[in-house]
């Protein structure tokens, strides 16, 4: 009989606490579904066999780890909230004669129910939805949608493993709390922590400094290469800053306001300041969580969306011409064979190359120190912001492509840079010293510098002999096989993608034998892998964004509910002391609004400050369209704010129902 008793009691408890348990169970189900789908996609064999599919599966499996970690932290956090609300109930059981081991038994049953429901419904939902999500993903990637329906074995194994672990963890934590507490403490469980918060100035200082530091990094980082490394430092600094300022900073500000008697003792400010102080103490960490999550959603969604939308731009930046051939030309060979081969292929296809562009050059990297360049790779530092890419081009090609008739002496150069300014009068590189004859303020369109990370210099020298000499010196210094020089040939085609693709394939076969080291590229050929990577990121951004939003919704809901219970009593007292019902309502509403929109506004500020550094990161990914990114960011913020507002309105109803329960109208 007794076994059934506990099982029944557990079921009744869940039913009785439906208002808080239902959202929790729904979130568990949602998280199980999302995790299943993510594992399903990252392990799906069909997807892996598609072009670029494996790149994307790497991204997706990364996503599944993120979900796993996030689910653990998040479900643990919400569950501890649930238990906090129920401590009084446990205390009552205890006092009515149930021993702690009996309570533990009830709790075990409850956890079992929640686990079975969540896993059952979650897996079922996951299996049903996985096909839909799969199709959406393929649509995003512009892949063919295969027919058929499959259930993923690895996912079916991984999901119960993870979530059983999570549920066990929450159960153990609850049992630990119950066992440590005395019944009287349990009875008062819901009411602890009413003391006035202290101002923690050191935390305020740390918060201000780290937030400022994070913002400073974002605003001042110039080179995209440095941005890559510093972005994470900035993120951590901003996170630390957010936590410190939400917890300690808010209290400090409110206390300062309170000290100002003229301000504090005004009808509108009086209840607001005191009320906010209390709320911030209770909610600071939760709000900081919401803020950071909101920021993460916004950054993730806006960047991935703009990358996906801007993919054509990206392709164009990365591949400025339809067909691009780059090849090292050995010392004993010339580039003529290549030109002939390309023209033959074009003739076969009855096509003509438009904007035909070809030039010879040498390329190497080095650390610029004043007027000297260190090219020895063993002495170079890659992380340094003085890394420059050098492109050496013969005068003959330069004059031809710019229609100029400039002339240069033996050791004279012309120099151009698209990202920095060369201020010195001489340039010493590879044991030669050149005199700068002219600083160019424009250069012919080329596709040399496509990575857009480092500073660059285009150097025009007297003739091909100098180019060859420099290529040789550079190769010898670093122990490479020297080649004569590099050659680039590129052009556009007035044809559809299929024709361009055919030309591309034919040129590959025609050129490949004579120039085995040649690199032949075309945006058409790269498109699939670009779609795979950027589409995968886009998908992941939206998917994780949805997960984070779900979490935010749940946290907001729980905050509203707990605020509601706390406010109920205060609401009544204030009315008795002489505030009208409307005044009380207004005052509470404005405080609740402040509390819930504070994270959103802060997230907006974070995004604004992060904008410069993210633009640089996107440049690394070849997206230079800042306008597009700005629009995507604004759009994401708007959609998120709208969503947030809707959630707020819906949960506010629950809140007012709790607050006005039992107060006679």
């Amino acid at each position: 009989m007794s076994r059934f008793f506990y099982a029944k009691l557990a079921a009744t408890n869940l039913k009785k606490n439906a208002q808080t348990y239902l959202p929790y169970i729904l979130t568990c189900i949602g998280t199980v579904m999302m995790y299943y789908i993510m594992v399903f996609l990252s392990k799906n064999e069909g997807l892996g066999n598609m072009a670029g599919g494996s790149d994307m599966q790497t991204i997706l499996s990364l996503g599944s780890y993120v979900i796993a970690i996030f689910a653990t932290i998040f479900l643990f956090y919400t569950h501890s909230f649930l238990i906090k609300r129920r401590k009084k109930e446990f205390g009552l059981f205890n006092i009515l004669g149930m021993e702690k081991k009996h309570i533990s038994k009830v709790l075990m049953f409850e956890t079992l129910y929640v686990a079975v429901i969540s896993l059952g419904a979650g897996l079922l939902g996951g299996i049903l939805f996985s096909k839909l999500i799969f199709m959406v993903l393929l649509k995003i990637l512009h892949f063919e949608v295969p027919l058929g329906f499959s259930v993923s074995g690895p996912a079916l194994a991984a999901v119960p493993l993870l979530f059983t672990g999570i549920f066990l963890l929450t159960l153990l934590n609850t049992l630990r709390q119950i066992h440590l507490a005395k019944p009287v403490e349990l009875l008062k469980g819901g009411q602890t922590g009413e003391k006035e918060p202290k101002t923690k100035w050191p935390l305020v200082m740390i918060g201000t400094l780290s937030l400022g530091g994070g913002y400073y990094i974002s605003l001042t980082t110039q080179s995209p290469l440095a941005a890559l490394a510093q972005f994470f430092i900035a993120v951590i600094l901003v996170m630390v800053g957010t936590y410190c300022l939400f917890t300690a900073g808010s209290i400090a500000v409110l206390k300062l306001l309170r000290r100002n008697k003229g301000y504090y003792y005004q009808t509108r400010h009086f209840t607001a300041v005191a009320g906010m102080m209390y709320r911030m103490k209770q909610n600071a960490v939760g709000l900081a969580n919401i803020c950071i999550m909101a920021t993460a959603v916004l950054v993730m969604v806006s960047t991935t969306v703009s990358l996906y939308i801007g993919m054509e731009d990206v392709l164009r930046t990365r591949y400025p011409q339809n067909i691009m051939i780059t090849t090292p030309v050995p010392a004993h060979q010339s580039a003529e064979g290549l030109q002939t081969a390309v023209h033959e292929v074009l003739a076969q296809h009855r096509l003509e190359g438009k904007d035909m562009l070809d030039y010879r050059y040498a390329a190497f990297a080095g650390n610029q120190e004043g007027d000297t360049v260190i090219t020895d790779e063993s002495k170079m530092s890659n992380a340094s912001s003085s890394v420059r890419q050098f492109y050496v081009i013969p005068l003959e090609d330069y004059n031809r492509l710019t229609n100029r008739t400039a002339s240069l002496g033996d050791n004279e150069i012309m120099i151009y840079s698209s990202r920095n300014v060369y201020k010195e009068d001489t340039l010493t590189v590879l044991n030669r010293t050149f005199t700068v004859k002219e600083r160019l303020d424009s250069f012919f369109e080329n596709s040399l510098d496509r990575v857009l990370i480092m500073g660059n210099y285009y150097i025009v020298v007297k003739d091909i002999a100098v180019v060859k000499a420099m290529e040789k010196a550079q190769a010898e210094e670093n122990g490479y096989d020297p080649s004569g020089y590099q050659y680039y040939l590129g052009f556009d085609l007035d044809a559809n993608e299929a024709d361009i693709s055919a030309v591309y394939q034919d040129i590959r076969t025609a050129v490949g034998s004579d120039y085995p080291d040649s690199r032949i590229e075309s945006p058409v050929a790269a498109k699939a892998s670009f779609f795979a990577i950027y589409g995968g990121l886009f998908f992941l951004g939206i998917f994780l964004g949805a997960l984070f939003i779900m979490a935010t919704v749940l946290i907001i809901y729980y905050k509203q509910v707990s605020e509601g219970y706390d406010d109920k009593a205060r609401f009544e007292i204030m009315q008795k002391v002489g505030m009208s019902r409307e005044e009380v309502k207004d005052s509470i509403r404005s405080q609740v609004l402040t509390v819930f929109f504070l994270p959103l506004v802060t997230a907006g500020i974070h995004i604004a400050f992060a904008f410069p550094i993210i633009t640089k990161l996107l440049a690394v990914l070849n997206l230079t369209n800042v306008g597009l990114f700005a629009w995507c960011t604004a759009g994401t913020i708007l959609v998120f704010a709208l969503f947030y507002a809707i959630v707020y309105r819906l949960t506010a109803k629950v809140y007012y129902r709790i607050v006005s329960w039992g107060t006679s109208a």
């Binding site: 009808t267 009086f270 005191a274 102080m277 209390y278 009544e572 008795k576 002489g578 505030m579």
Partner: protein
């Protein structure tokens, strides 16, 4: 001068869907003169709290009227009622009703802040009251840091600071130990001697015995009343006890 006049008050509670009616007050009439100290007694469910809520304009009577200094409460507009309550009535509750989010001083200031008074005026008003109630050195503390008696004295200070026409006290000694209760009752007496009109609803014979007049309510009606006149607290205590016994055993009504 009559401060409070209650005429033929009736209150019927109807359940949400109009199913059943419960008559909390059937016909209550009495009046309170300036400077009086009146206690209202009755058993649980006799309608005491309902009466107090109506006097406090927190609730509306089904019929009958309440006049405060000759003004009908029912004619005051909904918007002005809070301000009216703030300016004319002071409240002392059984469970103190202090807000944990404010220091004791700020709790006492609350009604004045709501009326838009300046800080200087508020602290000027507070000083004599704090001295009288002996709470001067705990003003900076928070409600959860002080004892029940101290909390109740702060609640009294909050009621006094607006210099109200009438102080309404709902079981003010209900949550206090006997010593603190004794102190509070002495305090009420002093305040009353200074000219403050008091109306107290209570269960406690001890508390009622301090009042100048005791009204007994039974089944929603004023059943009986006692004047203290020259009697000592002890004699009054005895008399109230006798009356309660009579009421409980169903004695006939007499004046």
């Amino acid at each position: 001068m009559t401060i409070l006049e209650v005429n033929n008050l009736k209150k019927v509670y109807t359940t949400r869907f109009g199913g059943s009616h419960v008559q909390a007050l059937s016909n209550v009439s009495f009046s309170v003169e300036q400077g009086e100290y009146v206690a209202i007694m009755g058993e649980s469910g006799s309608g005491k709290t309902t009466l107090l809520n109506i006097l406090a304009s927190l609730d509306k009577p089904t019929s009958g009227e309440v006049l405060l200094k000759g003004e009908r409460l029912s004619t005051i507009k909904e918007k002005e009622i809070s301000a009216f309550r703030r300016e004319n009535l002071g409240f002392v509750f059984q469970d103190f009703n202090l807000l944990d989010t404010f220091s004791l001083q700020d709790n006492i200031f609350l009604p004045l802040v709501l009326s838009g008074k300046s800080y200087e005026e508020m602290s000027r008003r507070l000083q004599p009251i704090a001295r009288k109630l002996g709470i001067g050195d705990i003003l900076a503390k928070y409600p959860y840091e002080v004892s029940g008696g101290q909390k109740q004295r702060c609640a009294v200070a909050r009621a006094l600071i607006t210099s109200p026409q009438l102080i309404l006290a709902d079981e003010p000694t209900g949550s206090l130990d006997s010593q603190a209760a004794e102190g509070l009752l002495r305090l009420f007496k002093e305040i009353n001697q200074d000219g403050q009109t008091l109306l107290m609803v209570t269960h406690s014979v001890k508390a009622a015995s301090h009042a100048k007049r005791v009204l007994f309510i039974k089944d929603g009606e004023v059943f009986h009343q006692l004047y203290k006149a020259g009697m000592s607290d002890e004699a009054m205590y005895q008399k109230i006890s006798d009356t309660l016994t009579t009421m409980a055993t169903g004695g006939a009504r007499h004046e």
